[in-house]
């Protein structure tokens, strides 16, 4: 079943109320052929469960890893993925676009 924003933000709130650490990642800027539009969400819990997407499956792994750090220290951060970035190739944003993702903890 595909998840809508309803499910993603709703699930983030449910996880938090259950006492889990939760982070929310949001696509804040895109350039070129980015697979998911600005405003797309990915919710991540402290166990590494996630719902939603910020790309076509290319960089979610890296975002989840960073999200666990955000859950740890509570400091929001901006991640950038794109063709100009060595690590992006490693992460695999192969569509040729570039995206910026804001990751914040739900407190």
């Amino acid at each position: 079943m595909l998840s809508s924003d309803d499910d993603i933000l709703g699930q983030a709130a449910v996880w938090r109320r259950e006492g889990r650490g939760v982070a929310l990642a949001t696509v804040v800027e895109t350039w070129g052929s980015a697979p998911r539009p600005v405003g797309s969400h990915l919710a991540i819990d402290s166990e590494g469960h996630f719902l939603g997407s910020v790309s076509g499956g290319c960089v979610e792994g890296d975002v989840v890893t960073e999200a666990l750090d955000v859950i740890g220290d509570g400091k929001p951060r901006v991640l950038e993925f794109g063709v100009a970035d060595e690590t992006a190739w490693r992460a695999g944003l192969s569509c040729g676009g570039r995206i910026r993702v804001y990751v914040e903890r739900i407190d």
């Binding site: 809508s4 949001t26 804040v28 600005v38 405003g39 901006v78 804001y102 914040e104 903890r105 739900i106």
Partner: protein, 233 residues
């Protein structure tokens, strides 16, 4: 984000009210602005623009950068007529993220057995639709081609300015339909908004193909024209 802000955002969505989450990119301070409480806000203009376009994005204001997460109500699809096409439309509309409800007073058609995963209301549109509060984030497709059932639904969809209104029927059937609507004082500008014959012209023949053509036409109306929300009075 504080859990209470996330909860407010989720509540606004459940109530079908537009809202914007404002995040200061420097420092991460956040607040929620509801569409009806926009007056006097420092970011009123860009927020209003974001609500009108339905698009989230970055804005600059007095040297600071903010990200606006726009949340407009989930798109509803109300289908009049629990017919064969509707059975094909229900699963693909769900896949497309539409919140679909079927209305048909004919109890032989409107059964949960025929529509296991979609709400079906076996009653007349004039009874069912007013409490549903049709709005600009609602699409309506009429499939009964029975004026007793379709016409009252079309009248309400036109009055509520639904972003998509479609009605099954030949050009001749539709010609008579708009005559009836004009007799009820709907304007030509309004009745021109009705997509009829319904669906994109892809040569659809089977109920499933017609369902695809209708869903494609709804998506076209949704994505090609920015959704608009009414300004706070």
């Amino acid at each position: 984000m504080r859990l209470d802000l996330l909860t407010k955002l989720n509540e606004a969505r459940a109530e079908r009210r537009a809202a914007v989450l404002v995040t200061a990119m420097d420092g991460g301070a956040q607040r929620i602005v509801r569409a009806e409480a926009l007056a006097g806000d420092a970011l009123a203009d860009p927020i209003d623009e974001a609500l009108r376009s339905g698009k989230s994005g970055m804005v600059e204001h007095e040297g600071a950068t903010y990200f606006l997460t726009v949340q407009v109500p989930p798109v509803r699809l109300i289908v009049i007529g629990a017919v064969h096409i509707t059975q094909a439309l229900a699963p693909i509309a769900r896949l497309g993220g539409f919140d679909m409800t079927i209305v048909d007073p004919r109890t032989a058609f409107a059964t949960p057995e025929r529509f296991p995963d979609t709400p079906v209301i076996a009653d007349w549109p004039e009874t069912v639709l007013p409490p549903m509060k049709l709005d600009r984030y609602t699409a309506m497709a009429c499939f009964t081609h029975d004026p007793k059932i379709d016409d009252p639904a079309l009248e309400q969809a036109l009055a509520a300015d639904c972003f998509y209104i479609g009605a099954l029927g030949s050009r001749k059937t539709h010609g008579k339909r708009i005559e009836r609507l004009h007799a009820k004082h709907f304007t030509v500008e309004q009745t021109q908004r009705i997509h009829a014959p319904i669906g994109l012209d892809i040569g659809a023949v089977t109920p499933a193909e017609i369902a695809v053509s209708v869903l494609a036409e709804i998506i076209l109306s949704l994505r090609k024209k920015p959704l608009r929300v009414e300004k706070a009075a």
